[in-house]
């Protein structure tokens, strides 16, 4: 479990994280979502005890991580892909980390197997691809079979098979009762992996919710209708709370009316309908909307954080 309380971090004048509060629960995958530069990595570095909070505090499994007697049993961390000396072999890198906490060579061999690096474990890390580097980072995070796992952009640089592997692994860790906290700037990735979401933008907490709620709250429902009488139907549906647009002849996109309302209106007017589809807003769209709002509330600056996210 990770408890973040009133957390802030300044770098000089810049406020990277601004009084953020949230809790990451065990047993599920929690996504940490935000545009690049939102403060995700800074928060994760503070969780790992690498950066000191300017104010507030973080508890990992109920205590300050820096005073944990067996850190590797508490927390496994994948920060940047390359937190590795390039001149060392993967096996020796893992062995050196393992030895600090009294973890043996057998567990080192085991995590090398789990992440699928057995064939290259003796090679120097400098020659590794980005994906192999990510796998090595995951191996390091798993060494102590920690109660809590924190991974910063773990699917970066992975091929499709690697992405699938990563998702499967994160879910099975959560199913085993671990606390799993994963950051991403890719909303679609989070939709497939996480069940809860912590969303931040410009260092501030925007949402602490489930993936389903997040989409439902942030999206305006839209309905696509295909009809032979688009003009008549549009006139009937237009109102103060609804908008109608048309991308193709014979197809309308309606915001502000439910599918039931639209179907009933068309039936009463004897208008033929060939298709009636509710458009589920994607997590991507929900996220864009939400961070865009957060930028507008703080409209003194330009809206670059949203542009970066895209």
């Amino acid at each position: 479990m990770i408890e973040v309380e009133n957390l802030s971090k300044h770098y000089g004048d810049k406020l990277a994280v601004d009084t953020v509060d949230f809790t990451v629960q065990p047993g599920i995958v929690t996504g940490f979502l935000g545009p690049n530069g939102a403060g995700k990595s800074t928060t994760m570095r503070m969780i790992a005890g690498l950066d000191k909070p300017s104010s507030g505090r973080i508890l990992v499994n109920g205590r300050d991580y820096r005073s944990a007697p067996a850190p590797m049993a508490e927390l496994g961390v994948l920060l940047e892909a390359r937190s590795v000396h390039t001149g060392r072999s993967a096996r020796n890198h893992l062995l050196a980390l393992a030895q600090t906490n009294g973890i043996g060579r057998r567990r080192v061999a085991e995590v090398i197997d789990i992440v699928g690096l057995a064939e290259v474990a003796g090679r120097r890390v400098g020659g590794f691809s980005l994906g192999m580097g990510q796998r090595l980072g995951v191996a390091a995070a798993l060494l102590g079979n920690p109660a809590t796992v924190v991974l910063d952009e773990p699917v970066n640089g992975l091929d499709p098979e690697g992405v699938l592997w990563m998702r499967t692994m994160l879910k099975s860790l959560a199913a085993d009762g671990h606390t799993v906290f994963v950051s991403s700037h890719l909303m679609s990735e989070m939709a497939q992996t996480a069940s809860r979401l912590i969303v931040i933008g410009r260092g501030r907490l925007i949402a602490d919710t489930t993936v389903d709620e997040f989409v439902a709250n942030a999206s305006s429902s839209a309905v696509t209708v295909r009809t032979s009488e688009p003009a008549q139907l549009r006139d009937l549906l237009l109102g103060p709370d609804s908008t109608v647009s048309s991308a193709n002849p014979g197809t309308l996109l309606i915001h502000g009316r439910t599918a039931e309302e639209i179907g009933t209106v068309a039936w009463r007017a004897h208008l033929p309908i060939f298709e009636l589809t509710v458009q589920h807003a994607s997590l991507e769209e929900a996220f864009m909307k939400m961070t865009h709002d957060s930028v507008e509330y703080r409209s003194t600056d330009n809206a670059d954080s949203v542009a970066v996210a895209a």
Binding site: R45, A48, G49, L50, D51, K52, Y65, R66, S67, A68, P69, A70, P71, M72, A73, L75, V77, L79, E80, R82, S83, V84, H85, T86, G87, R88, S89, N92, H93, L95, A96, L97, A98, Q99, T100, N101, G102, I103, R106, R107, E110, V111, D113, I114, A140, L142, L143, G144, N145, P146, A147, L164, W165, T168, M169, K171, S172, L173, A175, D176
Partner: protein, 282 residues
């Protein structure tokens, strides 16, 4: 295929659990374990071995060269040197390689990002610095001791042609040989502290070379009335008193006082490096 993968990963992660870690009352950071880890780090980089060999070659080779010149036709001892110190002249060149290695063992962690991994598994941080210093000190002392004996024996053999040589049993000779190893050890630890303090290879190496190699000879350009008050306390001059020479220092410290001064300089820098490691963001 998806479910098959899930099942496989699940089993293997679970196997890891059965293995122990989570049950792991055994998991714990101890200074001894961090020492073992730093030893693994040290021996698993090729560059460390090469740099050590370079240091030994400089020490033995230049000791032999200076001894040969001294025993040669235009020879004779330089002022402030003896048969013992001449055979150990290579120490001052070997310190460059030792210093670079000391710096790199820490600054290399910062430049590659390894430091984040190292400090995440030892979040108290300081045990890592102590372990690095200890592993480095032991390795340097033992290798330097071997190289110092070799330099002494080879140098004396060359000086013996002109009957300028001394024996290891002569007064001060053994202290000088062991002193050369101690000198290199403390110089290396000073460099390592600089690497930790500055976190940048170029800055730390430049500082080390300036303080130990460039500035001391430059002080000879200043009037003696001025330099006689402080040059004996420069870390390289102070430590060099262990090597049975005064090297032109006007008010030389006694060997062990000089060595103590050199150690004090190292201790201050180590303290600063520890302070920065503990307090600053990694």
């Amino acid at each position: 295929m998806n479910t098959a993968t899930t099942a496989a990963v699940s089993t293997r992660l679970a196997a890891g659990t059965a293995e122990g870690p989570q049950a792991g009352a055994a998991l714990r950071v101890t200074q001894r374990r961090v020492l073992l880890s730093e030893w693994t780090k040290f021996r698993s980089l090729r560059s460390t071995v090469y740099t050590l060999l370079t240091a030994a070659a400089l020490m033995i080779g230049l000791g032999a060269l200076f001894s040969a010149i001294t025993a040669g036709p235009a020879g004779g001892f330089e002022p402030g040197t003896t048969a013992t110190s001449t055979s150990l002249t290579g120490t001052f060149f070997a310190q460059l390689a030792v210093g670079v290695l000391g710096v790199l063992l820490i600054s290399g962690e910062y430049s590659t990002g390894m430091i984040r991994s190292s400090l995440t598994v030892v979040p108290r941080r300081l045990p890592m610095l102590w372990a690095k210093l200890a592993v480095f000190a032991v390795v340097i002392f033992l290798s330097a001791l071997v190289a110092a004996f070799a330099s002494f024996l080879l140098g004396q053999a060359m000086l013996s042609g002109q009957h300028l040589d001394v024996a290891l049993s002569d007064p001060g000779a053994l202290r000088a040989v062991v002193g050369a190893a101690l000198y290199l050890t403390v110089a290396g630890m000073t460099a390592m502290a600089l690497g930790g303090l500055l976190r940048n290879t170029a800055a730390a190496v430049t500082t080390f070379v300036a303080v130990f190699f460039v500035i001391p000879p430059l002080t000879n350009l200043l009037p003696t009335t001025l330099t006689s008050h402080f040059v004996q306390y420069l870390p390289s001059n102070a430590g060099a008193m262990m090597l049975d020479g005064s090297y032109g220092v006007v008010n030389p410290l006694s060997p062990w006082t000089g060595f103590a001064a050199m150690c004090a300089f190292a201790a201050i820098l180590i303290g600063l490096a520890a302070w920065r490691l503990d307090r600053a963001d990694a």
